[in-house]
Structures are given as structure tokens and as C-alpha cells.
């Protein structure tokens, strides 16, 4: 009886909480004058009435950690894992939608895309108790130095602080994609850091002991090895479910597996590969396929004449040489999907690579050899390095094995995560020489155009591609404020990239995560942790619950 009453009360409280929040959001007064663009931003799900946090969630990360990843001002993709723990953004991808209100309760964009305005929730504060205001929002934007910072800052004319809760960004030219970059997944500029604290401790001090407005407070770290976070019970959205989260770098798949089996870990990432079958058949484990993005190959310096990959036929031969179905079988027990695009279908305006929009690349080693001979390599050739994403070194050897079968030979360069990510984020500068193949993946929520901006245009911060045909379409894309036209142009560019073999897609990666029985809820309901579309990691962390 008592349980029933409590359950009814909880449901009522929850419903009232959500309704109250929606009521506030809908009652928000407009900030900007004039016609507004239609924004599809979902309301945050505020869960009041949650109990106290309990238990520890121990996470096994599949690559080495970098303390720099605790600082959003130096954003890089995998660091989102930690931003969702320590920090919070105005708007961010959540299970409710790719754009979901978080620190902001209301946002607007003028119809001409020259202004964007946000209103913060009332009473926000950082974990040290200091109020979070628009001053912090402005300071974060102005001091952001991570991916795409120049592009973002060049676009902004000025930032107007209306009051402690209201801020307006004024752009020099229409900035249609502002929210794509500012929503948490495209850059770190929208993840708000405390100005007072950052100025006090400096960049290195902040990396060593970050403070944010997220659901978990930083407790301690062993640089590159592990970090511990404690629940912050004053987080605005809800009280976190677990009291402690410990993230460890466990590069070795066998060690992660052993960790899960012995209870040293409760959640482990990157379980594809040699032990996936063991994960899938272990009755004590539950796993989620967590399809993220397609693996693809890139050719730094391909557009230099001395590169063997300068010839399109060679790049095509690389694609034809790879036995994708067998690769998928070996690496993912068949749950991966051979894919014909380098962008996930879950990204907005992306072409599907399963034959719907773009064909699945065929496997034809004979034709690959023929193309190599036509390109002047009848006996194949050696290239310097094959650089795989960490720690998929076995997969790299499988791909190299396929390439060697048609005469393309090389060695695997095994970099650790911080080194790999530092090099790939520099684009062309990261890989001098022009005889390297880089195996890459970039799972992130958002529009396909953001990946094109990043990886496929001349000015892209991590781009290896610079093609006049793409530049012309991209210039049109940037000049247009017609969303439909921009989508069409984005798709046209994707097609050119695939048809020209500038990037060679492999397969849609199931980034398998496994959890132990300690993780709640029991059974298949656990899959709700992976509800955020195209998110590489199962955020938000505040919803995770474990048995104490």
C-alpha cells in the first residue's frame, strides 16, 4: 500500500514537474523582434522528486584519456563523454532530440539568421555554488579555442548581454548553421565554463581540476589513466542516479572483458572484435549494438601528384579490394552493415549508404588489380603507413590483408588515442607525406554538412579534401539561407565525395557497449541509455542507475 501510494505520488510529482517546465518554456517571452526562424528544439525532461544517488558506475574506456578533454574550450569529439559528466550546454543532443534545451530554457533565431538569442533557466549555478550567468556564456564563446573556433568567431559581430539570463549573438552574415555548431555536439563553444574559476586557475589548473554546471563533480584523476566523478545533487534537471562514476582507460579488449566478468567494470565500450561473441553469449552481460557512424578511409595528400592515391583508379582499387561482408563478419559477428557513405544515416541530410541513396561498394579484387595496372602499378605498390583509429588494430590488419591481396602493401601505425586524435584533428598537417591511409570514424549527432565542413572542404579544420567541384557547391551552400537547397547541396557534395573515392566508406560500425547485471534496469530496458541519436556514448549520465 505504501509502495503504491509512493508510486502514485512520484508519477504525479514527475508529471507536474514536466508540465511546469513546459509551461514555463511556452510562456517565455520573445527576445528578438521581427520574424523568427522555426527551430525544432525539444523541451528538457525535468525529473524532480528523484531519490538520493547511490552506487558506483565503473566505466572502461577503450582508449587512453587526455586531461585536456575535461576542458570544453579545447573541444574534441570524444571529449563529449566528459562534457556530459562535468559540464552543461545551452542546448545539447539528448534522448528527446538532437536539439534539446538544457541550460537555456528558450532560444530564438531571426528569420534572416543574423541573430540568435537564448534565455537561461532561472537559478542556474556552477558546482562551486557560483551563479551561472550570460557573462559566463559570452566568456566561454570568446575564449573557445577548440574545433571550428575561428569559423565561429569570425561569423560573430558581437555578443549582447541583455541581462543575467538573456544573451543575443549578432552575426556578420546569415549563420544558418549556428545551432549545429553551438548545440554541444559540433563544438565546445556551447558548453559553459565558469569564467571566474577559469580565470583564477588558468587553463592547466582547469584541466587538472575542472568545475562545471553538469550533473557530476570532478573528484580526482590519474592523468591518462582514470578519473572519478561524484554526483552533484543540485543539478537542475534531476538528481543523478549514481553517486560515483569512475572512468578508466582500459585499452586492452581482454582486460575490459575480464573487468566486466569480474565486476571491476560495470560498463565497457568498444567490445567488437575478437571477444564480441563471448560478450553476446554471456548470460551475465547485456550489450547494445549502438550503431554510430561508418568507418572510412582517407588519403592525406592524395591531391599531390606524387601520391599514389592521386589517381582515382587507385583509390577505387582500394575500395574494390576490401571484402566488406567478411570484414563485418570477422569484426562484428555480422551485426555491422557494409555501407556506401562515410556519414551516418542518422545525421541530418545524410545519404543512406545501404543502396537506398548510395550503393554498397562492391568487392572485386580482380578489377582492383586491373585498375592498379591501368594506373601504372601492375605489381602494386608500398605506402608508408596505415593509421587506424584506436584501438582497432586488428581491424587494420584485416583491411591491410585485403589490400595486400591486390598488391597494395603497408604497415600499421599504432597510435594512442590522444596522439591519433591530435593528428587527425590537424587535417593535412597531421599527416605529412602523401603515402598514408588513415582509418577514421566520427560519430556525432548533427547535420551531415557539419562533417563536410570539418572534413571535406579546403578550409575544413580536419580536412584532407580540397576539390574545386566541392568548393563551388559548398560556396553555394554557405551563401544560401534556403534550408531545402542547403540539404540538396549537402547531398550533392556527399555524392561527389563517394563517387570520386576521396573517402572510402567501409561499414556502419556497431560500437558495442556491454553492461553487467549491476546496471539497472534489469533486462532489455537497459537499452534506453542509448536513446540519444547517433551518440557515441550513452549519455546523459545523470539517468544511469546501478544496484548499490
Amino acid at each position: 500500500m505504501l509502495t503504491k501510494t509512493f508510486a502514485i505520488l512520484s508519477v504525479l510529482t514527475l508529471t507536474c514537474g514536466v508540465a511546469w517546465n513546459q509551461g514555463v518554456a511556452s510562456a517565455s517571452q520573445p527576445i528578438l523582434s521581427g520574424p523568427l526562424a522555426t527551430l525544432d528544439i525539444k523541451d528538457a525532461q525535468i525529473e524532480t522528486g528523484r531519490g538520493t544517488p547511490s552506487g558506483t558506475l565503473k566505466i572502461g574506456l577503450h582508449f587512453g584519456m587526455d586531461p585536456g578533454w575535461f576542458d570544453p574550450l579545447g573541444y574534441y569529439g570524444p571529449a563529449l563523454h566528459f562534457y556530459y559528466l562535468i559540464h552543461d550546454a545551452l542546448i545539447k543532443p539528448m534522448p528527446q532530440g538532437e536539439f534539446t534545451y538544457s541550460l537555456a530554457e528558450h532560444a530564438e533565431m531571426s528569420a534572416d539568421f543574423r541573430r540568435a538569442a537564448f534565455r537561461l533557466r532561472p537559478g542556474l549555478k556552477f558546482q562551486d555554488g557560483h551563479p551561472l550567468t550570460t557573462e559566463d556564456v559570452k566568456w566561454t564563446f570568446e575564449n573557445y579555442r577548440g574545433l571550428s573556433f575561428k569559423y565561429l568567431q569570425d561569423k560573430v559581430e558581437n555578443i549582447q548581454i541583455v541581462n543575467d539570463r538573456t544573451i543575443i549573438f549578432h552575426f556578420k552574415t546569415p549563420f544558418v548553421d549556428f545551432l549545429d555548431l553551438y548545440s554541444g555536439s559540433g563544438s565546445g563553444a556551447g558548453w559553459i565554463v565558469p569564467k571566474h574559476y577559469y580565470e583564477q586557475v588558468g587553463k592547466d589548473g582547469f584541466k587538472a581540476r575542472p568545475v562545471g554546471a553538469g550533473p557530476f563533480k570532478f573528484v580526482s584523476q590519474e592523468a591518462g589513466v582514470q578519473a572519478t566523478f561524484a554526483a552533484w545533487d543540485q543539478y537542475w534537471r534531476r538528481v543523478p542516479g549514481v553517486s560515483t562514476i569512475n572512468v578508466r582507460s582500459v585499452r586492452d579488449l581482454a582486460a575490459r572483458m575480464a573487468g566486466l566478468e569480474t565486476g571491476e567494470l560495470d560498463l565497457a565500450y568498444g567490445m567488437t572484435g575478437k571477444l564480441l561473441q563471448r560478450v553476446m553469449t554471456d548470460p551475465k552481460l547485456r550489450w547494445d549494438p549502438n550503431f554510430t557512424a561508418p568507418w572510412h578511409l582517407v588519403f592525406p595528400g592524395y591531391n599531390e601528384r606524387s601520391s599514389p592515391f592521386h589517381d582515382k583508379r587507385v583509390r577505387q582499387a582500394v575500395s574494390l579490394a576490401i571484402n566488406r561482408p567478411f570484414l563485418v563478419k570477422q569484426e562484428t559477428q555480422g551485426i555491422g552493415k557494409p555501407w556506401g557513405n562515410w556519414i551516418s544515416h542518422e545525421n541530418r541530410d545524410a545519404l543512406r549508404g545501404d543502396g537506398t541513396d548510395l550503393p554498397v561498394p562492391p568487392y572485386d579484387p580482380s578489377k582492383a588489380k586491373q585498375l592498379l595496372a591501368e594506373a601504372g602499378f601492375p605489381n602494386g605498390f608500398d605506402f608508408d603507413w596505415y593509421v587506424p583509429f584506436v584501438p582497432y588494430f586488428d581491424m587494420a590488419e584485416r583491411v591491410l590483408n585485403d589490400l595486400r591481396a591486390v598488391g597494395i602493401r603497408s604497415k600499421v601505425q599504432m597510435l594512442d588515442a590522444p596522439a591519433y586524435m591530435a593528428q587527425t584533428s590537424k587535417g593535412r598537417k597531421g599527416f605529412p607525406g602523401n603515402r598514408t591511409i588513415v582509418q577514421r570514424i566520427d560519430p556525432r549527432p548533427g547535420g551531415a554538412k557539419e562533417l563536410i565542413r570539418l572534413y571535406a572542404v579546403c578550409d575544413g579544420p580536419a580536412s584532407y579534401i580540397c576539390e574545386p567541384a566541392i568548393e563551388a557547391l559548398w560556396a553555394k551552400h554557405e551563401a544560401s539561407v534556403d534550408v531545402a537547397e542547403r540539404d540538396r547541396l549537402s547531398k550533392e557534395i556527399q555524392r561527389i565525395i563517394v563517387d570520386g573515392y576521396y573517402l572510402v566508406p567501409l561499414y556502419l560500425n556497431p560500437f558495442v557497449h556491454a553492461v553487467t547485471q549491476k546496471v539497472l534496469p534489469a533486462g532489455d530496458a537497459v537499452h534506453h541509455y542509448w536513446d540519444t541519436v547517433n551518440a557515441p556514448f550513452p549519455w546523459p549520465w545523470e539517468v544511469w542507475e546501478v544496484r548499490s
Binding site: A254, Q413, M414
Partner: protein, 315 residues
């Protein structure tokens, strides 16, 4: 007076020869020599002896593909067990690895890599260290000061950590590992050789050579280096084992010889997961090869140390 019968002299001489031969044989370190001989032979003749290639998977039979993947045609069959297990065959006596490559062949080629890296790395280290040690010991004064202070500083660096650091700077690669070994180990030679030279340079033959106006370089080349070679050889044989371990460790950590080359350390690293799956031989076999090589090198080094030191030899 006793007389020796006709023909007995030759019999006695033969018996003495046999005794001498057996003494020499008894003194020889047979176990390390056999192991090293075997490994060197296998390494040298790997292209002839290995049943399959070192990089390419073994071409599977249709029935193997059918049994493993349910398809008649496949590029390779991974993790075939060794011949003594069910499902194994003598075609791949020690089974195949995760990429369908013959483990025995990779072990044979792996011996090449371990020996090349260890021997050349140690040789370079010996050459550098001996040259610097002789210079410091014979030239003295600021030569000695500079070289020995650098040597002392170098000796304080933990060899594996230092090797990893150098490897991250130089990048992976077989010849980079050789260079790293040379850079890590030269200081041990220079320290030991300098001590020897300090004693030798005071001996009469060196003094006489100096009095006779023989040039320093000639003295170093004719009188000092030949006299420190015993020490260098002992150090060399002892360092080879350490170099094998360093190479294997670097490859195991992913900063040594890059895949797909079959280094023993790398083979162990790549099959860590196999232990969990019960395929212990994929870990144990390369590990045993490393152990055998290191053990043999150390035993030989110990023997040399005793043989070349008159005090120890006559004890």
C-alpha cells in the same frame, strides 16, 4: 725398467686427444649453443623452412570455410587449432592466428626479427660504447669528464621507459628499434670499457709504445681495443638477452616493430584475447621463444664471462 709396447704410444696420444676433446666439449655451454644454433638456423632459413608465408593467410579449403562460416569460399579461416587439438592439422602444425596466418611460419620469421634487432642493436651499442669508453679512459681530462658525466646520466635512465620514450619520438619500425637499442645500451659499454682502459694504459707495452712515438690512434687501435674485447664480448652476450626483451616489450606495447611483421612480442600482444578463449598456445609459443632466446644468450654470456676471466676460470 718398464717398456712401452709398440703401438701403445699412439694409443696413449689418441686417448689424450679424446680426453682433451671431451674436456673441451664438457666445458662448452652446449645447451645455449644448441638453442642459439637452432634459432639462428631457423631464422636464416625461414623462407625455406616455413611452411607458409609470414604475412599472407593460409588458403583455406572449401570444407573449412563451410565449417567455420557456412560458406564455401572465404579468404581465410582464423584460429585453426594446432595439430594436437581436434580440428587441427599438420598443414598448419601450430594452428593459425586471428587472420588465418600460420603460427609456425610467423614464429620462424619472428626469430629473424628478434635476432636481427637484438644482435644489430647490441652491436651498435657496443661499437658506440666501446669507442667512447676507450676515448674517455685513454685521453683522460675533459674527454673523460664529458663522456663519463653523460654516461652516468644515461645510466640512470630506466632502459624500458627510455626506450618507449625514444620510440614515441622516432616512431615504430624495425630499424628504429635497432637505433633505440643502440641509444639505450651504449652507456653500459663505455662505463666498463673506460675502467679497463684506465688499467691498461698504465701497462708497460702501452708506455713503451708512447715512448716510441706511436700515435694515439694507433695505440688505441692496436693495443687498447684488442685488450678490452674480452669485456666487450661478455657484455655483448649479456646485453643480447636484454635487447630481445626490450624489443619484445616495445612491440608488445605497439611502439616496436609494426604489424603485420611477425615480431614475437607483437604476436603475444595481438593474441591477448586468445587466452580468454582457451587458445593458450598463441600466447605461450611466442613467449617460450623469447624465454629460450634470452636464456640461451644469458647462459652463453655467463660462460664467456667465466672463460675470459682467468681468476674465475681457474677457481
Amino acid at each position: 725398467m718398464a717398456t712401452i709396447p709398440v703401438g701403445a704410444e699412439s694409443t696413449i696420444a689418441a686417448a689424450r686427444a679424446v680426453r682433451r676433446g671431451s674436456r673441451v666439449l664438457r666445458d662448452l655451454p652446449l645447451v645455449p649453443l644448441v638453442i642459439l644454433g637452432l634459432l639462428v638456423s631457423v631464422a636464416a632459413l625461414a623462407p625455406v623452412l616455413a611452411p607458409h608465408g609470414k604475412l599472407d593467410p593460409v588458403t583455406p579449403k572449401p570444407e573449412q570455410c563451410q565449417a567455420k562460416f557456412g560458406i564455401p569460399d572465404c579468404p581465410y579461416v582464423d584460429n585453426v587449432p594446432p595439430f594436437w587439438s581436434r580440428g587441427g592439422s599438420l598443414e598448419t602444425p601450430l594452428g593459425t592466428d586471428f587472420l588465418g596466418r600460420d603460427v609456425l611460419s610467423r614464429l620462424m620469421y619472428g626469430a629473424r626479427i628478434s635476432l636481427i634487432v637484438a644482435l644489430t642493436g647490441t652491436l651498435f651499442a657496443g661499437a658506440i660504447g666501446t669507442a667512447l669508453g676507450v676515448l674517455a679512459g685513454y685521453m683522460g681530462r675533459w674527454w673523460d669528464e664529458i663522456i663519463m658525466r653523460i654516461t652516468d646520466a644515461w645510466l640512470t635512465l630506466p632502459s624500458l621507459v627510455f626506450a618507449i620514450l625514444l620510440s614515441s619520438v622516432r616512431g615504430p619500425g624495425l630499424w628504429n628499434v635497432v637505433l633505440i637499442l643502440a641509444l639505450v645500451f651504449w652507456s653500459r659499454y663505455s662505463r666498463a670499457v673506460r675502467g679497463e682502459v684506465l688499467a691498461i694504459r698504465e701497462r708497460e707495452f702501452v708506455k713503451l709504445a708512447e715512448i716510441n712515438g706511436i700515435g694515439r690512434l694507433t695505440i688505441i687501435w692496436r693495443h687498447l681495443i684488442p685488450n678490452v674485447m674480452n669485456t666487450v664480448m661478455v657484455l655483448f652476450s649479456l646485453q643480447v638477452g636484454v635487447a630481445v626483451i626490450i624489443e619484445a616489450s616495445l612491440s608488445f606495447l605497439g611502439v616496436g616493430v609494426p604489424p603485420p611483421e611477425p615480431s614475437w612480442g607483437l604476436m603475444m600482444a595481438q593474441e591477448r584475447e586468445s587466452l580468454m578463449e582457451g587458445r593458450w598456445w598463441l600466447e605461450i609459443l611466442p613467449g617460450s621463444c623469447i624465454t629460450m632466446l634470452v636464456l640461451a644468450a644469458n647462459m652463453l654470456g655467463d660462460w664467456l664471462r667465466v672463460r675470459l676471466d682467468p681468476q674465475l676460470r681457474n677457481r
